[in-house]
Symmetry: C2
Subunit: 387 residues, 2 copies
């Protein structure tokens, strides 16, 4: 196990009807609120009205910025920063999924910063301060509600880049599983792939003697594997939706990465795909992750066999652990297929003509991954295996 520091102060308010507490939760942090959301589904569902009532009840004035889309765009972040400065906003409330939250986090660090906010996403500056961000979560997937991450896409150059900083963790996150019962099956499945990927990026580590966090990772993966088929069959199953939602937060709040180094190559490769093609991040991960596994598993057959045995109940083949390892990868791919996700680039309508370009962009700042260090030719190979 490696040395680490861990602190996650995000206050989780979890359960039925909890969105009605948003005003109370925001009040200690807020004078004037930027209410940030996506493309309007929260208005159709009635969530918008409940949030607004709660803010009004708490006596909190707010201005609005809708329009955050999957793979959230830098342009909208600029617009949000301008609005916050103009209206002296001191608190951002993100109501939506990971895209809205990531966008809110970018606005939050952009407002008190004199330079261009994109600097934080190219690692040419480190954010020291932020407006506090609160969350009402509607999609369990990105884990952004309690994470230190934000991913923004710059339209010019089709660049999708992450920022990681402790300062951007939300001050609170309201998680009501009821809000997720109307998620369409495909979005539910994409969320599952995203959650599993957050765990697997941490699971496949070169660090040894991390059995406790291995087991916490396995617990989280098994929860997703058990519950997603339940909600695809029975979308209004509150109990299963609740397990998915809480697992989605734990998957990415960094507890599962304590004392270990994550890999993150699959995420970086996926960012290049969805930076260009605007595919759902979860779908992209369902395509990239199994391909990555097939390319790297020989580096640590034991760990991949453990994954197969403990997550997928594959019987250990002691005479041929490699076969066990491959069976685990196969089960993961089967699971993604079974829940309706693509597992090949073609199935997302991503052509094969820009694989080299993606690989080159991916390693612009250096080789990717920690279990195996990947250079551009490795990434091309992985993308070929994903065809």
């Amino acid at each position: 196990m490696e040395n680490f520091t861990f602190s996650n102060p995000t206050k989780i308010v979890f359960g039925r009807g909890t969105e009605n507490q948003v005003g109370t939760e925001a009040r200690p942090h807020a004078g004037t609120v930027l209410l940030h959301y996506g493309t309007g589904s929260i208005k159709r569902s009635g969530l918008y009205d409940r949030v607004v009532s709660s803010l009004e009840l708490a006596g909190l004035p707010f201005i609005e910025l809708g329009g955050a889309r999957p793979n959230p765009r830098l342009d909208l972040v600029h617009e949000g920063i301008r609005l916050c400065r103009e209206h002296r906003v001191d608190f951002i409330l993100a109501v939506g999924g990971g895209s809205v939250i990531d966008s809110a986090k970018a606005i939050g660090v952009g407002v008190p910063y004199d330079g261009e906010v994109w600097d934080f996403y190219t690692a040419s500056a480190t954010p020291q301060r932020t407006l506090p961000v609160g969350v009402v979560l509607t999609i369990p997937a990105a884990g952004s509600e309690a994470s230190k991450s934000s991913v923004i896409t710059k339209e010019e150059g089709e660049l999708k880049r992450p920022l990681d900083a402790e300062v951007i963790r939300p001050v609170f996150a309201i998680l009501n599983p009821e809000l997720t019962c109307t998620l369409p099956p495909y979005q539910t499945a994409c969320g599952a792939a995203d959650i599993m990927a957050h765990v697997m990026e941490r699971y496949f580590t070169p660090v040894t003697n991390v059995d406790f966090t291995d087991r916490l990772c396995e617990a989280t993966l098994r929860t997703i594997v058990r519950t997603i088929p339940i909600v695809l069959e029975d979308p209004h199953n509150y109990d299963a939706r609740a397990e998915i939602m809480w697992a989605g937060t734990i998957a990415h709040n960094d507890l599962l990465g304590t004392g270990r180094v994550g890999d993150w190559a699959s995420h970086m490769i996926e960012h290049e795909i969805s930076g260009i093609y605007d595919v759902a991040h979860g779908a992209g991960l369902a395509v990239v992750f199994p391909a990555w596994m097939k390319y790297v598993y020989r580096r640590d057959v034991t760990r991949f066999a453990q994954f197969a045995v403990r997550v997928w109940d594959v019987e250990m083949d002691f005479s041929n652990p490699q076969r066990t390892a491959l069976e685990g990868i196969h089960r993961l791919e089967q699971f993604f297929r079974r829940i309706g996700l693509p597992v090949r680039l073609e199935e997302m309508n991503v052509p094969a003509d820009r694989l080299t370009e993606m690989a080159d962009k991916c390693v612009e700042s250096g080789a990717k991954g920690s279990l195996v260090k990947l250079d551009a030719p490795d990434i091309v190979e992985i993308l070929q295996m994903a065809r």
Copy 2:
């Protein structure tokens, strides 16, 4: 799953040599420090000198209060409160195990309170404020380093009572597994029982549909079961000590209790024993918990069978789940014996002449437990089963 709120802001600083960062971690919170510790082992080990150097390097003046003992006493808390007021202390640094930390938490809430601090432990008042408390942990057991709990014993009346309040969570906890390599076997084993009990109190819940946290609990229990025999054989095994230390914190920081109701009857019963006899809390739990299980398991045979299968690798007896459940309890008792703990009252030299008195004191404020509500006659029966 039930609605819940969860927030654990304690900053964990984990790994080799981390006690040398204590000055840096304390500085943002501290003007003058009360350095609180136990009966002197930190001086013999050299830890005291490293902590003092770090405080001095950070320019932090401090006064000292040693003498905290297992089952920490109210008298010393009073002494600490007096010292803090006299020297205008604004930060308490606890260097030690759960007793020192619990004592520090009591001093912390006592200083800004006009009334008698014991009020907080009888639930006749709720603490609103505290001096911030920081921790350098030397014993993985109580989980107090990141918990909202403190347990204090009032000598008069032999009363051992808990306080639970969010405000008393430490602001940071420094966890260096190296410091635990010199723990004697018996103390290591007592810590294991305490850690396992914190998980099991949450695991045995009447709340249904909590499989995710079930699995996190099982992961934590399996970690202790795997690693304790390793360190009893090889006390300086850093990797195993590290897993135990981190599992001990997670066992009691409330993550494992999210969305569920804990039972806690075994803890309450044990408090009556160690309130009178001054036995190690972990040893008391090793005696009480299996007896409690044998008394209540029929209420939820499935859950006890799950415990047996998933924690102890008992093969499920589908024709007789009760047998599986009992086998799990048996394995737990066997494990405690194997690591050198008592599993009967006599083995701790606790006579049987005050069982009724203990049971009566235990239910003074009402029946105990949530899986099964226990009144005084139930508790007498459990104590009889523990003989």
